[in-house]
Amino acid sequence: MPDPLVAQTAAELFPNGVSRYAVGGLLVGLGAVVIYVGTGIAAGASTFLESTLSYVSDQSRFQRYVSSRDWRLVFTFGIILGAALFAVTVQSGVVTTSLYQPGTTGRTYELAGVTLWLTDVQPWRLFFGGILVGIGTRIGKGCTSGHGVCGVGSASKTSLVGVATFLAVAVGTAQVVAALGVTP
């Protein structure tokens, strides 16, 4: 029998439980490990943006990624495919597990028997936020996967500082945006 105070605090900090987050995080780590063990590559997601631009732009900044652009396309395609696999199984209820809490965010819609999901976050937030994500991750040498998963996993001081920086600024930004009444 867990202490009621502990249980109450846990319910306040984690209203959707922790299992979906923990299982998801383990799988994200496992995906990175599979690639690292086989190839020695510490994969990050944001380099794909620049490496893919090398197909359409001769700028020297993008051309430096020519040698890795093909596998980065495959990696990104794999991420989309894996998430789609999640959608046709767990999200659609074909596979059920007590470890997964569906939650109530956004909207779901059905397409060919598959339950798909749509965000309610406004397009202008996604677009302008996306521009800053594109600039910031590339100047800052990594994103949530490169710095956050592989860099922190490597105990890299650069990545720890990078993560602390973007996490702190993101918390501040999200709080200000919410305080201004922008929702969702």
């Binding site: 999640f86 600039i135 709080q175």
Partner: protein
Amino acid sequence: MMDRHPLFMPLILVGGVIFGFGLGFSQMARPEVVLTFLTFEDFGLLFVMFGAAVVSGVAFAVMPRIRDAAPLTGDRYERRLKPFDRNVLVGGAVFGVGWGLSGICPGAAYASLGVGNVTILWALGGMFVGAYLQGLWRSRTAARSAAPSSAD
């Protein structure tokens, strides 16, 4: 293009699939869930980020000790270390504003598309625009700073 091991691309694909499935399962592919984390309504995302870092941390610590080189590339196992400079802070801060405004980061955006969220194309479009703008600017600054030395 160098010759690659025939299993190189299949392995990258499998790793990406597991990675993407995990982002879907954890709901990090949903901007709303990231935003509730950033506004301290649900701290669960800590388990995604640090859970993943712990798993990869084991591999980064163990692999260099038990094997000299990766089987599919022959590359040495190294930790992901990047030099620290002001860009890490400036870029991190710009990324932080973008992440806090949109609730989405690059890997999660690809996964979001996979769970059916076509609206995330706004964010993906924005990310390409941002990556292009910084690349354009940095290519020009690099060319300008290289010009005097090549004239010597």
